[in-house]
């Protein structure tokens, strides 16, 4: 039988692990994506977990998923629909009906598909596949629970602990399906359970049993092989956006010689940055878990005043609470990095889901004329560079910078070639000792070219000064309510931000430079938009793509680039915030729009469909 197994070589495949939130699907998915990355595949992953910590077992609201996209060439997204679904219970199957391809392989644990399990997931018949209309899927049905219990009989584990290894049995089966050698997975399990060797051994046994089961029993489904691709030589790791953001801030601190300070209040989906930086005492990182969002930013403003590279991390509702304090950093002209990991809104909204709906809040959500720099990261690994740039601009231009990421890139991960910090540009704080104006130094006397003021840090003798939220005199830096002076200071703060455009890279157009249609995006949708362009190229269509990372100020060549194309479509996960912003900046600009606000990443196939319609209109 085994000799008849077909091996299909694919260049891309999407696998979705799904089960109860207690079934260990995140771990299973992570191990599988890591061992695929080590194997030389391109990977992109995305966890999809419920907002509740533990919903009732077996119910629809308790389903937790982890999607992995593997490929032999560049992969930018976790993929639209899965080729393979691991469904540990009927609820997981039901929830994922829309997330799988019609002919997908569905791997189930038959022991969890009993009548009572079906009832918990609100099925009305005893044939879940028929009920859901899944007529063309290939089902791999294995009595996983029974086999795991039998396989671990000699391990001295109680029933509950033995059943916890179910996910590894499933992983073993998937490894067989994709011809993944088990050594790397075993190694990862040994590391994961280094302090509990018995548990490590039980998991490894379940993993091996699952692999052997697939090998011995299933001749009826094809196994898949994803060839490894040639990647640039160097060291790699797997990183998600939140971790990359943390590392980017650390890198900027090291490069600038400033101590990194984070003031933050826990909020989904940004909290992992606080976790990550709290671990980095070894690198001198100071973290304060503040009493609320306002204190999160205010402790950071205090630390910035005191001479640190200061950051605060949050999501949409937290950014709203921080608004007044951001205004203080604007008028005090202190460096500050504000990371907003966007999630579904308004209000509490969809805390674990992804949107791009905070753009206008970031740009304008403050009282007064209060310009700040806004940067958006485009992929999980780009979060590193984006956080580095945000820090560099904040410090060198003495301004708050809002870095927008989102739940999708924050939690999604991909393989990342470790950066060489020596290749990154220097970060030079404009300390008051560098001031060379004709008149004596004052806190608001500026560099005439960049309009940046000079930074005096407590402890520097001869530079003691008072900052504050009240308007100051352009020349003397004393409090001023003079009308002309206020106008002058408003202009000075705006000009300072506008001039930053001289220091950011120009907008690039990728794809067909002579295309009729230009796709425009910003932030975390880069991967989906790129794949849409690629798919259209494969279909023989001419299309170009420009993606914004610098939003305020815009790259200098923005108007020129957008004016070069007959049709422009701005695709974003909101009701058109960036399109409207561009319209305000570029006279006569009237783009097509593609807007989805579902809390879910774009679907590449839908993008291609819409863009093709626009192209052919």
């Amino acid at each position: 039988m085994t000799e008849q197994t077909k091996v299909t070589t694919l260049d891309k495949v999407v696998i979705r692990f799904s089960g109860d939130s207690g079934d260990g699907m995140q771990l299973t998915g992570t191990i599988f994506s890591n061992l695929s990355a080590v194997f030389g595949n391109e990977i992109s992953t995305f966890p999809d977990y419920p907002a509740e910590v533990r919903a009732p077992q077996g119910t629809l609201s308790g389903v937790s998923g982890f999607q992995v996209h593997l490929g032999s060439r560049k992969i930018f997204t976790p993929g639209d629909k899965a080729d393979v679904l691991v469904a540990m219970n009927p609820a997981a199957l039901k929830v994922n009906v829309k997330n799988i391809k019609p002919n997908a392989i569905v791997l189930i644990d038959t022991d969890s598909f009993e009548k009572s399990d079906l009832e918990k997931a609100l099925y009305t018949t005893d044939d879940p596949f028929k009920e859901l209309g899944l007529n063309d899927v290939q089902v791999v049905a294995a009595p996983i629970s029974t086999m795991v219990k039998d396989g671990l009989a000699g391990f001295g584990l109680d029933n509950k602990s033995a059943l916890r290894c179910k996910n590894m049995f499933a992983l073993g089966l998937v490894c067989w399906l994709f011809e993944r050698p088990l050594e790397e997975a075993m190694h990862m399990l040994q590391n994961k359970f280094a302090k509990k060797p018995a548990i490590a051994q039980a998991n490894i046994k379940a993993l091996t049993d699952g692999y052997n089961y697939g090998h011995n029993i299933h001749a009826s489904v094809s196994t898949y092989r994803i060839e490894s691709q040639v990647m640039a030589p160097g060291f790699y790791t797997d990183v998600n956006g939140n971790k990359a953001t943390s590392l980017g801030l650390i890198a900027a601190a090291e490069k600038s010689g400033l101590q990194l300070f984070l003031g933050s209040y826990p909020i989904t989906p940004a909290t992992d940055i606080l976790h990550e930086l709290s671990k980095r005492k070894d690198l001198g990182v100071i973290t304060v878990q503040a009493e609320d969002e306002i204190a999160g930013i205010c402790t950071s403003i205090g630390a910035s005043f005191a001479g640190c590279l200061a950051a605060t991390t949050t999501s949409g509702p937290g950014l709203a609470l921080k608004s007044e304090a951001i205004g203080l950093a604007v008028i005090a002209e202190l460096p500050l990095v504000i990371v907003d990991v966007q999630r579904g809104g308004p209000s509490t909204g969809l805390p674990t889901k992804s949107e791009q709906t905070d753009l206008l809040q970031a740009l304008y959500g403050r009282n007064g004329e209060s310009p700040v720099v806004v940067i958006a990261a485009s992929t999980p690994t780009d979060c590193f560079d984006a956080a580095y740039w945000a820090s560099k601009i904040a410090v060198e231009h003495m301004t708050p910078v809002i870095l927008l990421t989102d739940a999708f890139i924050a939690n999604g991960s991909s393989a990342w070639k470790l950066p060489n910090l020596a290749e990154y540009p220097a970060i030079v704080p404009p300390l008051a000792t560098q001031y060379d104006g004709d008149k004596p130094w004052k806190p608001y006397r500026r560099n005439k070219e960049t309009m940046v003021r000079y930074w005096a840090v407590p402890g520097m003798e001869g530079f003691a000064h008072r900052l504050g939220g009240l308007e100051k005199d352009f020349d003397t830096s004393a409090i001023s309510t003079d009308p002309k002076n206020h106008q002058k200071m408003v202009e000075a703060r705006q000009t300072k931000i506008d001039k930053i455009a001289d220091f950011v890279p120009e907008l690039e157009v990728i794809g067909d430079q002579d295309a009729e249609l230009l796709i425009v995006g910003w932030g975390g949708t880069y991967g989906h938009l790129y794949e849409a362009m690629e798919t259209m190229h494969e279909q023989g269509k001419k299309v170009a793509f420009a993606h914004f990372q610098f939003i305020n100020p815009l790259p200098r060549n923005t108007a020129e680039v957008l004016g070069r194309f007959k049709k422009v479509v701005v695709a974003e996960q909101n009701k058109g915030q960036f399109a409207n912003y561009l319209r305000g900046k570029i006279a006569g600009f009237n783009p097509y729009r593609f807007n989805r606000v579902k809390g879910q990443p774009f679907v590449v196939a839908r993008l291609v469909e819409e863009f093709t319609k626009i192209l052919e209109a």
Partner: protein, 338 residues
Amino acid sequence: MTTEEIKYLPKDYKSDQYVRWCPGCGDHAVLNCLHKAMAEIGVAPSNMAVISGIGCSSRLPYYMNTYGFHTIHGRGAAIATGVKTARPDLSVWLITGDGDCLAIGGNHFIHAVRRNVDLNIILFNNKIYGLTKGQYSPTTDRGFVTKSSPFGTVEDPFIPAELALGARGNFFARAIDVDLKNTTDILEASARHKGCSVTEVLVNCVIFNDGIHKAITDKAVRAERTVMLRHGEKMLFGANQEKGIVLEGLKLKAVTIGEEGYTLDDILVHDAHEKDNTLHMMLAMMSGDMPLALGVIRDVEAPVYDECVHAQIEEVQAKSKVKNLNDLLMSGEVWEIK
């Protein structure tokens, strides 16, 4: 030590800015006391940071020749926490008022106190909103008529001491604007305390709440209506120090020595360093027939937040092999493509 220490004078802490408080405002006196206290402490002006929120008193940083930051309403405690946690080497002061500190900034205040950040907090309490021209504040007495309570307030005030001690405060002192000598001494003591110190200064608002503390602070009644507590000394008051505080059962009582059989030996001795805050709380809460407690009521050593933050960093750094970003990256799950 061969280096001669620089001796600072009060004027070294004074900025060239014209002080814009109303003539007769109690804040002027506190400002002068603060300049004097700072000179006594002797920290260089460039190593001091004076942070404030919003309100009349929060203008104070502009009148200091130190580093200063006049921030936003209620958030001074959080900003000062950031300054001190980033730079424990600085002497950090927080200037705040009853509205700024106890209404909009209540949360930041209690948490700064709870964490025991080494801040010197001066709480200017005039029981009114002055800058917004006369609304009741969280310390305004029940029934008090103001512009926003034309028929009298129907809510009870905070007693700042109760809040500070309830937030597990380790230093609380009370001073009055009209007693320059003691106020200066108390501010100096607050600065010498390691950890978060809260000094409530009862100040007069000459425009919107004139005479609010008069029944206590007026020279004619002050000796009878207040008791100045000093660590290690008997709790005596009265024009001739003929009265004192005794503990009877679970209650404090004001007695006259030589009457009802009370002798000097019965009078309590103030122990500001006692860890148990029960008696401190009772003293701080004295009102009505009892004299108002002034001076350093509580002054107890406890682990200091900003020091602990840096000690933990040093401890981890001493043990860790990770010295820079590259070490960190290479210490994780890494694979090499050749």
